[in-house]
Symmetry: C2
Subunit: 118 residues, 2 copies
């Protein structure tokens, strides 16, 4: 197995579409991804996996049923499995995400974005 150095800013410069996670590395059966977001996503949950968010740029609000959390650059939050959440960004925000390979980003394969590798 080979591995490569990943520069997150460089990877983020390669695309402009939002809510479309790009796989940049593999780690213990997980996809390490970068994504650009703006606006509101949908309420969803992942029954079998925690959801890891690390903000690289901008500001992310994660709406939760019992209150919101807000993340700036260098701040991370893990949404525990089964917990409903809805990410919202009022400015373009860049995030590092880690999820088990194959997990749909919306919690539902029917509505999930394709995760392409860059």
């Amino acid at each position: 197995m080979t591995s490569q150095t990943v520069n997150l800013a460089e990877k983020l410069s390669l695309f402009s579409e939002r809510w479309s996670p790009k796989i940049v590395a593999d780690f213990n059966g997980h996809d390490v991804m970068v994504v650009k977001v703006l606006g509101e996503f949908n309420w969803h949950s992942h029954p079998d996996t925690d959801d890891f968010f690390l903000v690289l740029k901008g500001r992310l609000r994660i709406r939760l049923r019992d209150g919101d959390v807000t993340l700036g650059p260098g701040e991370l939050y893990v949404v525990p499995k089964g917990v409903e959440h809805c990410p919202v960004a009022e400015e373009e925000t860049h995030i590092l995400l880690i999820e088990p390979a194959g997990v749909p980003n919306t919690g539902d394969p029917a509505t999930a974005a394709a995760k392409n590798r860059i």
Copy 2:
């Protein structure tokens, strides 16, 4: 299960010792940790787990038997399981690490640093 927002710089401000990973979050059976390093670690490998490094500050060289990789801020590298590596930092460097809970950082429980939660 509860979860908290983690500000990485704030967590890093809470300690000064080096080569002593601090757990800041849990994620799918993994420890998410911050660590400060300076100098050379030891050659080791993890037979059953990939090793995730994301540099937050400074510069990390990861010596590998077939060549080195060097990471600056915002750069990540996954050392595949079983691959011998030796981290080296010529200036104090801050890193985000992710490893399965309970994995010894040296690859050997006898020499591993305790991983405390902060």
